[in-house]
Each structure stands twice: as C-alpha cells, then as structure tokens.
Amino acid sequence: MAEPAYTVASDSETTGEEKSSSTFSETAIGIDIGTSQCSVAVWNGSQVELLKNTRNQKMMRSYVTFKDENPSGGVSSQLSNEQDMLSGAAIFNMKRLIGRVDTDPVVHSSKSLPFLVQTLGIGVRPLIAALVNNVWRSTTPEEVVAIFLVELKAMAEIQLKRPIKNVVLTIPASFNRFQLTRIERACAMAGLHVLRLMPEPTAVALLYAQQNTSQNTNTGSEKIALIFNMGAGYCDVAVTATAGGVSQIKALAGSAIGGEDLLQNMMRHLLPDSESLLTSHGLDDIKSVGLLRVATQDAIHSLSSQTTVQVDVELGNGTKICKVVDRGEFEEINQDVFDKCASLIIQCLHDAKVDTEDVSDVIVVGGCSYIPKIKSLVKSTCKKQELYKGMNPLEAAVSGAALEGAVASGLSDPFGSLDLLTIQVTPLAIGIRADGNNFVPIIPISTTMPAQKDLIFTTAHDNQAEALIIVYEGEGKKVEENHLLGYFKITGIPLAPKGVPEIRVILDIDASSVLRVLAGVLMPGSHQPVNPVMGVRMPTVDDGHGWCAEALNRAYGSTLDLVTVHKKI
C-alpha cells in the first residue's frame, strides 16, 4: 500500500513527515548543535567534510548576541573578547534548556548563567532574556537555536553553492519526545527540514561502522562497541553491534550532565557563594559571574594537560580570587558527576545485555573526552586498557550525521563507503496509564525503530462507556515518574460488564520517528471496531505540562480508567 502524499504540512508545528516518495535531489547535511559548540558536515562525494566559517573555524560557539536590532550568532560574528559573551547580551547553553519547564533541576542549575533565566516553579517554560541597552529582552531556546541554525544554513549554502533544505541533526540520547518537537520547531523556524534526528552516540556508531567496513571488508563477524559521548550539556552512552556496515544499536543511556556541571562545581569551589552573586541580576553582578566563568573554564582546560593550575581573577566588585587548584581537587569536587557517568555506562551495558569482555572497542568522544578523569573512568568501567583511536572527538558526531544525511538522501558510493546503516532503538519506553496509576509500556526501551506494537486493555468499571488514553514516555513504574506526551478519550464503548470490551492500543513509530497512538474498541466475537478508531499524533501537550494529568485526575478521577488484560498462562 503506497503512502499517501501529504499536501499540507501537519498542524502540529513539527516537520517530521514521512519522507516523500520521490528521491532526494540534494544531499542532506549533518548538523551538530552542541551546548557550547556547533558544526556542519557534508558528504562531498568521496568523504565527509566539515564546513568552515569565514574565520576558518570548523567548531563555532553556540551563542546568540542580542546587541542590536538583529541578533547574531557565533557562526557569523566574532566577539571582540570572551567577556563580550558575558555581558548579559549573549544567550548560550540553550540546548540544556530547550523543552524544559521551570520545575526542572537542569533549568534551576542554569540560573547561574550570565543572562536572565527566571523560574516560577509551576511547570511552565522559564523566562529567558538577554540584556539589551539595560532592558531584559525575552527570547526562547527555540529562537536562539533557530538563529544559529539560520547562520549555519547560510554558511553551508555559500560554500556548497546550493540551497539547503534537508538536515540530519544530532540530539542527546536523553531527549524526550517533547524536546524533539522543540528542536524540530527550531529547524522549521530556520527553514530546515529534519530528515533524521540522531542520538549523538548513534551518529558516532555510523562513523564507526564505516571505519570498520573499510578495515575488514564484510567479514561478517560482529564487533561490539561502547560509545561514550560527553559534551558541555549532556552525557550519552550507546552499545552497538557492528558488522558489514550495519550498526545495530543495542541500548542507549543518557543524562543532562556535562562540562557545564563540572564548570559550576568548580565555580562554587573557587567562590563558595558564587550563586548569590546573581540574585539581583545587576549589570555588575553579571560581569562578575562572567569573569569567574571565563577564569574557571580556562582552569579546567589547563587541568586536562597539567596537574595544577593557578587561578587569578579579579571579579570587579572587590572580590579577588587567587587560588591554586590541583587535578585531584577538581576530580573530588566533581565526584558526583563522574559517578553518574560511570552509572550510565553500567546501565547501558545492562540494557544491552552485554558484558564488558564482549566489548571490542570503547570510543570516547565529545568535549569532555579531553579530561583525564573521564578517560580513566570509562576505561576502568569497561575494564579496558586502551580506548579506540581514529576518531576526532569533536568531529565524530557531526561526521556521522553527514554520513546518515548521505545515506538517507539515497546517495551511493562506487567504493561502497555509503553501504551503511544504523538501526536505531527507542531510548525510552512509551506506554499508557492503566491499572490505577501505573505506567504500562507498549513499546519497551531499546525497541528497534521503526516499530509498531500493541496491547489490549479493558474497562475498569461495569458499563463504562468512555476511557482515557494517557500516553507517557519514560522508565518509571508510576505515571508521574514519566513524561506526559498527550491524551485523548475514546467514546462509545458498548455497555458491558467490566473486563469485557477489548480496547486495543497501538503505538506506531515511523522511519522519521513520528509517534502515532491508535486506539479502538472491539467487542468479543467481532473483528470490526465498534467505532472509528482514534489515531493521534503525539506529543500533543505543550511544554511538558505534567499538570494536565493532574487536571484530568481532578476532573474524572478513576471513572475513565483502563486495566490491562491479563495474560492467560
């Protein structure tokens, strides 16, 4: 059955329509929008090439300054000095904030950034603003990301001498579906169509698959690799089984921990009350925090190559920091972050059902891969002496995205360099609320995508005519531990004793990772649904509004509940 062509874009803001049936006329580019840096790469016909901006940089800072009428990003504009970025006018770290609400701890930890992040703590999006001529000008993470996407797009168009539409974007493995819609929204604002969203370590896995095919031409023997990717904002782990150019992702794990946390811990170490500096958000305070941030960042970089560092910084408000920090101190104050990294590796190996001795290669990439402690903890957790060599830690993810762009655009290579495939899995389980307040997964974690799964539910009460389908994503046993994706009601259930009507719920994830939830009612003895089936594209909720579920509970209690149909063993 042919897929019908869409004539209008979906109303749901995103642009993730199923790829059109015609072959692509252009090669999709790969974009890595990192928390602190971004980059663009493209398959140039024989290999992956990273594009450079006019200042000959392959890695561009991910920030936008709102100095003048037209905001400008780190791709096109040059800051006169680092402090410029810390004057309140520059917004950065937006990848950490996109799609998060003001009750999220990650948002709270971002309040020490030298611009305005205001939270009300009620589960709505935080107010983010840049200081322009002594006025706080509000913006959104989507807008900031869109601005540098526009700049990256323009840069690529000039160099490739063609319009750019399709992109493969890398994303953190821990992003939930709501956050993905925000990224897609930013792309749509920038006039880009998301061909694929790739969790960062899976992009690295594709690059690894390519490197392995060229090394041993399709021997068919499977190699297990663990990929650890840690940047400024996120830490991701993937376990993949690779053979013959095909990388089968076995499991993914990720968390919003990264260099930013190391930086904040170090800032607190250097100036214990550094957080109180920003309470008034005065211009001088912002400057002080900015100076401290720059000095701390430099110190952390130095500690990657030397064992001690002298921090000497005047914060402009009479505070002067003059301190020697050694690597041991740095590692000690960040013990929690490092422990979390190790636990992600253990979790990912566990989810993949892989033992450390089965792992052939351990790949460490991302900005934090230069930190000696990161390298040593990954090696010790994986029980390996050596890490995989042959990948540029900063370029691996974007290179993988460019490969995926070429593959998904239908390009082939005479030497077989593009006979590649990454088979993705779901990073989180998706399911519905049933059996009281329980989360019942329908598509479990680490399910191969595209996927389609169904489960049968039934009514919780006699003569129950309606039921609520409330869809969540996550790993918690109770719904409130998971992320609400949306909800809808099915009506017209024929009156019957509880447990008799069969309510079939189907979750469908297509190649573009679009999730659809279908629900219909079947009565015993009949093969036709009683009423037209509901088919709802998710997520439908804005801003991760977990409180919608509470409102539903207040309005309906348990009257519209569902229970799972027990397996008959």
């Binding site: 059955m1 199923e18 053979a243 013959g244 095909v246 059902k353 998904a408 389609q452 027990h566």
Partner: protein
C-alpha cells in the same frame, strides 16, 4: 465506510484488522501487511497457536523466507544475523529509496522475523508451529533445552519454558556460561514473560 479505508486515508497501519485479515488477506491486499506481527504480539496475552501454522504456509509471512533463508532448524544464529543485516540494508527506510516499496512496513516485518528467529525459545516454538520439528525442546546446536519436556499443550509448554529459563538464568548468574547473545535473549524473554 469501513475501518480499512478510513485508516488507509491517513496512512496509518491496520493492525485492528488482524483477526479478520486472515480471511480477507488475499483479495484485500496487494501486498501482505504486518497483520501477522500484530497477531504475534497479541499471543503474548492470549493463548493462540493455530494461526501460526496457517501463516507459516504463506510464503510471504514465513519468517525464514522473509530473511531469504530456507526454513531449516540447523540455520545458525550467525547466518540469521547476517541475513537480517543484508535484508536491513535493502529494506530499512534510511536506505530503501524505491517508492514502490513500503520500506517501513517491510522493515517492521523483518524485525519481527529476526526477533523470533534470533531468540532460541521463540524460534523453537516457531519451528514447531511450522512443522519443522516434531516437538519443542529438542536440541539445537548452540542452544540446549534438553530438560524441557513436551507436554503437548502449548500452555504447559510455555509455562515450562519460563520456569526452565528462570532456572537457567539463575545458573548463568553463577556460572556465566554461553554467549552474550544467548544470555541476553534468555534474560530478555524472562523479563517479557514475567
């Protein structure tokens, strides 16, 4: 206005038809759909086994044939993996650019076939249903199920296997025997059946 057409119009899959499908399959559909998959996933919750034999007779839904393999109980795990990979390189939506092929559906079917055939227990059941073997639990190279007795009734067999797997899993914890793949599949099965 029937259910099929309303769903088709929005390009949605048609698993609701799984039951009726078996009867209308051939004249309704130009190509096989993944009705089979829905049936199989439903078997986790409902006892049913007869349909599989029927489907097994159908060329296009035989899991071995989906992977371009000859139905044979001696096909090794590596051969199945290899077949899956090469089929994935043809039908995965990322790499399949033939507009006449509904690659998403093809790939979902491939996954189902692979998932079943790469899992020793599911494959054993499937081989039995296909009539490739006379009873469940006979020895296959690389996978030992010698202690599982065939009680005839599918339900009993199922329970027996769950118990046996749990026992083996406990043993494994102590001994760490077998390949990672067989261990992970066994472990995976147990968590699914619990």
């Amino acid at each position: 206005m029937n259910f099929t057409s309303s769903l088709n119009s929005v390009a949605l899959p048609k698993p609701f038809l799984s039951h009726s499908h078996r009867h209308h399959h051939h004249h309704q559909e130009r190509k096989p759909t993944f009705s089979l998959i829905t049936c199989r996933s439903a078997t986790n919750y409902k006892s049913s086994s007869t349909y599989k034999v029927k489907d097994g007779e159908n060329e296009s839904t035989n899991f071995y044939k989906l992977l371009s393999l000859n139905p044979n109980i001696n096909t090794s795990k590596d051969e199945i993996k290899k077949a899956y990979r090469s089929m994935a390189l043809r039908y995965h939506p990322d790499v399949c650019h033939d507009p006449s092929i509904s690659s998403t559906k093809e790939f979902v079917r491939l996954n189902q076939a692979y998932k079943t055939l790469s899992d020793p227990v599911l494959r054993d059941e499937y081989d039995y249903e296909l009539g490739l073997k006379n009873c469940v639990g006979t020895t296959r190279v690389g996978f030992k199920m010698d202690n599982i007795r065939n009680h005839g009734a599918a339900q009993n067999r199922w329970r027996q296997q769950v118990l046996e797997l749990k026992r083996k899993s406990n043993c494994r914890m102590a001994q760490k025997e077998g390949s990672w793949a067989s261990r992970m599949r066994r472990a995976h099965n147990i968590s699914n059946m619990d």
